[in-house]
């Protein structure tokens, strides 16, 4: 009997019980989601209520709200949270401003056969390692780097290491994540709508404002979820080009590594989680999640 023949009874049984088939099919991904994803979130939340022994570094599993108290009382954490959210918003704005025209060109202006090439071009930055790109930017924004050189004739100098450099680098790094969703959104927008608008006498600007933007907004919001959440959690680029800038991610990292205070790091990690939940709820209201 062939191997295929041996499997036949099994195939038949599964065909007769579609629910069993579905359960078998979904158990692995759902299990992964529940155990690895929701499970780790639960552990995170639970450990935020623990503390560590200040000498041996062992975790003390006695519930306490001290971590959250310290978090809410500390002015520095408020400043860092605001800075991080502000940066995430700024990066998102830059990416929308840069990404929208690019996506519009790809979807509506460029010839169809150029599209795969343009898509590939947008994606090429993702082929290089994140670290390589960040370190390349470190050299560029640093003293005597390309930016210094380019701005010198204008009597200016490069941003140096700091918040501006982080803004620049993260905007660059996350741009493809903004272009792609907007491109997909605009691609679904029928050309006939643009023509109809123009037939009715609307200017290009009016068409953009009244037709394109409302229809593309969910795609923009979808893209912004990527740029916003990626910026919110980033600590590597900040570490490389940020100079002395601290973001939530850096403080979490410092508490995991340097401070060996996992419970406090867990409490801190709840901050971006809460921010993202709020952001996603807002995005859902904008209808972005249905169109992802």
């Amino acid at each position: 009997m062939s191997a295929q023949g041996a499997l036949r009874p099994l195939t038949r049984a599964l065909w007769r019980r579609p629910r069993l088939k579905l359960a078998l099919l979904l158990s692995a991904p759902v299990g992964w989601l529940v155990v690895a994803y929701l499970g780790s979130l639960a552990v995170l939340l639970a450990s935020a209520f623990w503390s560590t022994d200040s000498f041996t570094g062992t975790i003390v599993r006695q519930p306490t709200t001290d971590n959250f108290t310290a978090l809410l009382r500390g002015e520095v954490y408020r400043a860092i949270t605001l800075r991080t959210v502000g940066l995430a918003a700024a990066v998102t704005v830059v990416d929308v401003v840069l990404g929208f025209p690019v996506a519009f060109f790809m979807a509506k202006v460029a010839r169809r056969r150029w599209r795969p090439l343009l898509l590939a071009a947008v994606l090429t930055p993702l082929w290089a390692s994140y670290l390589v790109k960040a370190f390349a930017w470190r050299v560029m924004v640093g003293s005597g780097g390309v930016l210094d050189w380019a701005l010198e004739p204008l009597g200016l100098h490069g941003p140096g290491f700091g918040l501006t450099a982080v803004w620049l680098v993260l905007s660059y790094l996350w741009l493809p994540y903004m272009v792609l969703p907007i491109f997909a959104g605009l691609d679904r927008l029928p050309d006939s709508l643009l023509e109809a608008s123009s037939d009715l006498g609307a200017h290009a600007l009016r068409t953009f404002r009244s037709v394109v933007l409302p229809l593309a907004l969910p795609a923009v919001v979808a893209g912004s979820i990527f740029t916003f959440s990626l910026t919110l959690g980033d600590f590597v680029a900040v570490n490389i080009v940020g100079g002395k800038t601290q973001m939530i991610g850096n403080v979490i990292y410092a508490n995991v590594g340097a401070a060996n205070n996992l419970p406090f790091a867990a409490a801190l990690a709840c901050v971006p989680v809460v921010i993202m939940v709020v952001y996603l709820l807002a995005a859902r209201r904008a209808g972005a999640l249905e169109r992802l």
Binding site: T52, S54, F55, G57, N67, V76, G144, A258, A259, N260
Partner: protein, 402 residues
């Protein structure tokens, strides 16, 4: 580039504490009741009594550059001879910080660790490492006496590790920019510094000790005796100094390669450094100078320790004996840029001036070095338990950077 990330962050820990040492009797109910190093009784862990045959392998946790098998640089290899001689296959895990070392050792999967003074006591108190039977480590006899049975590698006269080497954090500057050559840490704290935005500092809470060390001589009225034992007033003064310094700082560094790149490119021109970074910059012909300023400096003294759960204790002992053997200890010291622990190593270095350059035998030099140790509540003198512990140092460090 030679990878030797040695972020010497002090581990630390925060938060509420258990009374660590059951036997110390100071039952402070809710505050951080850590026991004084001299006062705590470490958990009873048996010591290896006799050396048996090697187990065929040994798992190490080490600073980058401490366990080199020729894969980084062909000529840098003291692991292969050891493997050939003992039959112990070496698996090494590089840790970036002292805290990572403590965490890795708590996993119980490693046999030995090269712990700095800030990690060693915590490992001892946590029962993660066993006392070391120095009779089984032949080369221990040649180790400088100044490194033996110190507060960071022993408890109550019982050795918990084998000294590896030591060094000091240096003041580094660009000779083409910073003139005249500085000889005091004052230049990195000067509020009217002409180098504003180009100063660098070490990115770790333990850097607070550098500020305290400077204040010790700059503001004697604070009465700072030990930069790791700071009471409220002294701590506040150090933190204030660093907050003021933050406006001068262009970048805090935790990664040696980042520090070396910044000084080479001129992004930073002045700040705290290690000998190794100076070497890297000089190798690339960058105009850098370095000195141990007149106030002295902070530094490190590392210790090889054996895990209390070691699966391969015999190979671990053989490794400790090997790494402080004259030849291997000279190699690692030259590669890393620190003073060796074995006095016979000074004849084995390829640079005959090495031990002089690194002041290996110069105790008066190391008298000016305050080795990193974990700050705890107990001040170690008659002030009692009013000092700031490391968790408070970490919180303050976050605030200093803002």
């Amino acid at each position: 580039m030679r990878p030797r990330t040695r972020a010497r962050l002090l581990p630390l820990a925060v938060a509420l504490a258990l009374v660590v040492a059951a036997g110390c009797g100071s039952d402070e109910p809710s505050s951080s009741g850590t026991a004084a190093p001299q006062g705590f009784t470490p958990p009873e862990v048996p010591m290896l009594q006799s050396l048996g045959a090697g187990e065929g392998k040994v798992n190490l946790v080490a600073w980058a550059g401490y366990v080199e098998d020729g894969s980084t640089d062909k000529s840098v290899d003291w692991v292969t001879p050891f493997e050939k001689e003992t039959g112990c296959q070496v698996n090494s895990k590089v840790a970036a910080t002292s805290d990572e070392m403590v965490q890795l050792m708590k996993s119980g999967q490693y046999d030995a660790v090269s712990a700095s003074g800030d990690a060693s006591l915590r490992l001892i108190a946590g029962g993660d490492v066993a006392p070391v039977n120095t009779d089984l480590v032949k080369n221990y006899a040649d180790v400088f006496d100044a490194l033996k049975l110190k507060p960071w590698n022993s408890v109550n006269g019982k050795a918990y590790g084998i000294p590896h080497g030591r060094g000091a954090n240096l003041l580094m500057w660009r000779t083409d920019v910073v003139k005249p050559a500085p000889d005091s840490w004052g230049v990195v704290f000067d509020p009217s510094s002409p180098y504003k935005g180009k100063v660098t500092a070490y990115d770790s809470p333990i850097y607070i000790a550098d500020a305290a060390l400077y204040l010790k001589s700059a503001k004697p009225e604070l009465g700072i005796t030990n930069p790791y034992e700071l009471d409220d007033k002294q701590f506040q003064a150090s933190v204030d100094l660093l907050k003021q310094q933050a406006s001068l700082v262009g970048e805090y560094w935790g990664d040696y390669s980042k520090a070396a790149q910044a000084i080479k490119s001129g992004s930073t021109v002045l700040g705290t450094s290690w000998q190794y970074i100076v070497n890297l910059a000089e190798a690339d012909k960058a105009p850098v100078g370095s000195t141990l300023p007149k106030e002295g400096s902070t530094g490190w003294s590392d210790t090889w320790m054996v895990s209390s759960k070691a699966a391969n204790p015999n190979c671990a002992y053989m490794w400790m004996n090997h790494i402080i053997s004259p030849k291997a200890n000279a190699q690692v010291a030259e590669w890393f840029g620190e003073a060796p622990a074995n006095r016979k190593s000074c004849q084995e270095t390829s640079d005959k001036q090495f031990c002089a350059t690194y002041h290996a035998e110069d105790e008066s030099y190391f008298d000016k070095v305050a080795y990193w140790t974990t700050p705890i509540k107990q001040c170690g003198d008659d002030r009692g338990s009013v000092c700031k512990d490391y968790s408070e140092w970490t919180t303050a460090w976050t605030e200093i950077k803002g």
